[in-house]
Symmetry: C2
Subunit: 497 residues, 2 copies
């Protein structure tokens, strides 16, 4: 066995250990009895320790060095070496004490965040957030992959991306989004949003979500859908990708569009080529590209007229009272209502980007030390006013709404909006190559879009980095204009503009 083969063997065990840790996590969210969290925390910590020790072992370090001497590596071997080195260096550079301190601060921070949000009192969360930001700055210093610390943190979630690159894209998008939002606001013919806020039977919603997911070719032989408070997708092996949803009986979109969204993530992980199953390459290439898959299925497909031309008659059969006298067009317009709102996770396709841009700008300023944590609530509200023209009445509906900062995930938010942009550009190419896709949706056939995504994106896992992948698939670098173009083409007719 040469060094690459040995490296693959080592990393296949590390990947399996990661999958086992993911099972601990999945079970914690889906099944764990309330009184068992303490024991599970110990198990999580033990698995993380074992994985850490494996990853930073001398053996791995030596194999990477040896493998770097090998010439003419093929595509997979080359990517294996690159990603193995990336994982190894990330793990080696971070002192165990720092990782442990972050983990502890995150656990306590989460508790304080919950309390602060409940009591609408930012000062309860503030000291923990300050501590966490200090720790994240230390992480950036230790990793030191970019000259500015925020780019180093972004790189953890979106390999190769930098602050400047994203800022340029987001600034351009901000102007365009603003102009679309203004136009839609001035429309005198708006959708009827109240269709969605009726009483929707929970069991029927669940059954319908299963039916749709099957229709999207999610393979229940290699996965399952369950319920959890926070929906998520996770791979427990390369032949076991599960996701969760939640059901709100007063709001239709939560379950169905949540299911389609997570299903999009799952289809990505289920589409890996067999050669990289359970290897270091066996996951999505970046959080942004991952999000492009979930958002594409959720919004570009799942909120399209063609999709509902097929599904609406079935929906109406299941919910005859809710949809009495409502046409598919009424329903389609309803699920595409655009209105500035306070809470990111409930935002529509158009205003969503503004929520992310706000967080991106604040994160940058915090990590660079330009603003203090104590200033965040006010700055948040100012930015909301600037970007969306509304001011949160409470901090719970403002700066305290997201879980991410309590865990220390700085640099993660921008990938959500990047996902929308990647998604629009990928989808445009898919439509160019397969112009009949929307017609196929009307007949309930979603397999050709999946085939396109499998062939061009899914199968490669981490083989190509995001910036190479988008160029390979679409012929150009990430260009935010495609998303804007998509929004204008879709939403002006909905708002009769």
């Amino acid at each position: 066995m040469n060094a690459i083969e040995e490296l693959k063997k080592e990393f296949s065990e590390i990947t399996r250990l990661n999958h086992i840790r993911s099972l601990l996590g999945w079970d914690e969210q889906v099944n764990l009895p309330k009184g068992s969290f303490g024991g599970r925390a110990e198990q999580n910590a033990l698995m993380s320790k074992i994985i850490h020790e494996r990853l930073i072992s001398d053996k791995i370090g030596k194999l990477i060095k040896e493998a770097e001497k090998l010439k003419d590596l093929n595509l997979i071997d080359n990517a294996t070496l690159r990603e193995a080195k990336r994982d190894y260096e990330q793990e080696v550079k971070l002192p165990a004490e720092l990782v442990e301190e972050i983990s502890k601060t995150g656990s306590l921070g989460y508790i304080k965040w919950v309390e602060a949000r409940k009591k609408n009192d930012f000062s309860i969360f503030q000291p923990l957030l300050e501590k966490m930001i200090g720790l994240q700055i230390q992480v950036a210093e230790k990793l030191d992959t970019h000259p500015d610390p925020y780019s180093t943190l972004i790189d953890l979630y979106e390999p190769g991306a930098t602050y400047d690159w994203i800022a340029n894209i987001f600034n351009k998008s901000k102007q365009n989004l603003n102009s679309i939002i203004k136009k839609l606001e001035n429309s005198s013919d708006k959708p009827d949003f109240s269709i969605l806020t009726q009483k929707w039977d929970k069991n029927k919603q669940w059954d319908f979500s299963i039916e749709i997911i099957k229709g999207l070719n999610y393979d229940f032989n290699k996965g399952r859908q369950d319920k959890s408070v926070h929906p998520f997708t996770t791979s427990l092996s390369s032949s076991d990708t599960r996701f969760t949803t939640r059901i709100d009986d007063n709001f239709f979109p939560t379950c169905i569009f949540g299911s389609i969204h997570e299903c999009g993530h799952a289809l990505y992980e289920m589409g890996l080529m067999e050669e990289i199953h359970d290897s270091v390459l066996a996951s999505g290439c970046s959080m942004g590209v991952h999000e492009s898959q979930s958002r594409m299925w959720e919004n570009m497909v799942g909120r399209s007229m063609e999709f509902w031309k097929f599904w609406y008659p079935k929906l109406k059969k299941n919910f005859p009272n809710n949809l009495k006298d409502k046409s598919v067009k009424d329903f389609y317009r309803s699920i595409n209502t655009v209105q500035p709102s306070l809470i990111r996770v409930e935002a529509d396709e158009v205003t969503y980007g503004m929520h992310i841009i706000l967080r991106f700008e604040l994160e940058r300023d915090i990590i660079e030390g330009n603003v203090q944590v104590s200033e965040l609530p006010e700055l948040w509200n100012e930015k909301m006013e600037n970007l969306l023209g509304i001011t949160p009445p409470t901090n719970s509906d403002g700066v305290l709404q997201d879980i991410h900062w309590s865990w220390g995930n700085f640099g993660y938010f921008p990938t959500y909006f990047l996902g929308n942009l990647y998604g629009a550009q990928f989808y445009k190419t898919a439509l160019k190559q397969h112009p009949t896709l929307p017609e196929e949706y009307e007949k309930g056939n979603f397999s050709n879009l999946l085939a396109f995504l499998r062939e061009n994106i899914h199968q490669y896992g981490r083989i190509y980095q995001a910036k190479d992948l988008i160029k390979r698939v679409t012929g150009e670098d990430l260009n935010p204009d495609y998303f804007i173009e998509y929004l204008e083409k879709k939403f002006y007719p909905i708002y009769r503009i």
Copy 2:
């Protein structure tokens, strides 16, 4: 830290790794998608390898030697050393290749057993069974804890027990069981078994099983009930003990009594004293004592008249059509029907022992080389005729009915009957100390029996070995007469003798 403290620390990690492996197993039985078994098998193997390496490490060997030099160890430390040494030596003595060969032969053996049973063709299973027996004899030779190999295998499941000790107990029981069975057979007033074989709504059975388990003080904050093909109980930490049941809509006892049985196992593991949580001592002290808990709750409590005086009105409310015109006495007699039957897992309390005695005698002869595998089907049928007066019409209903041998579990079966015997003796002591227990059941109060079991048995885990435990609790060695006495006192009135 002295050697004992260090040993505890090492074994707390090993125990947690075992719990994580148990989660892989629980999930496999309860949740795993069909197409994901391959990946899970790899994960199981990896976890087993990691646990094996930890257990046989030089560090553990050295700590045990050092700990043996310490004097005046307290109860827990002494037991920790004893059980740690037991686990270590078992693991060290067995070559990794032998363990792997058994695992592979077991996997293939299981497949062949399923096929053989389906086709009613013993010859399909025979070669694998022969191989497995050879491997188990090797295990006995390597471990060499007793002069005869079968005792060495028995010791794996029932520490301290030997063939001679069990044979003496079983032979005595055989005569007594035979005489009871004969008397019951000759009764002219038998229960109406057909009550149980009506159509019983599955969802209602499930709900009722949950209600009963709650009534028995199973703590859903530290566990859960799910469904699986083969019911089982497993601890995923010392604060997370889960079990499963199955539901047959044509046979009432399967779900409810299965749930009570597994609940009995679970209550044992849930009752460990906190000092030994997640330690090497954190499990039952033997399979026999474990089974005593499940059988006591299932039969001595769950099939008693007092139990149903409380639960029958609720049952009747849930199943009014099934129980129309049936009194609690009719029902009580029905669930205590005794009749020689072919399948062990469906056998009643009285004839059950005969099924075990048959297997015990055959296992001994196979391991000692007194009989050939090819002779097993005929010997099985002869023994069934001798012990219960019936002959299996097919091998699928005879020698091929149990899964245990395919996995190589020789020496396991006798613990099932030992469980009945331990149970009767423990229960007699409980009733002597708390004569009002049955009256309490009539009021739905089951907490005093649990308190007795917690105080005397559960809390100790592996601290006391079975032979010491029974003497501590009941004042004498295991005596099978208590079980016979229990049967006579219960079943003669039911059969109006």
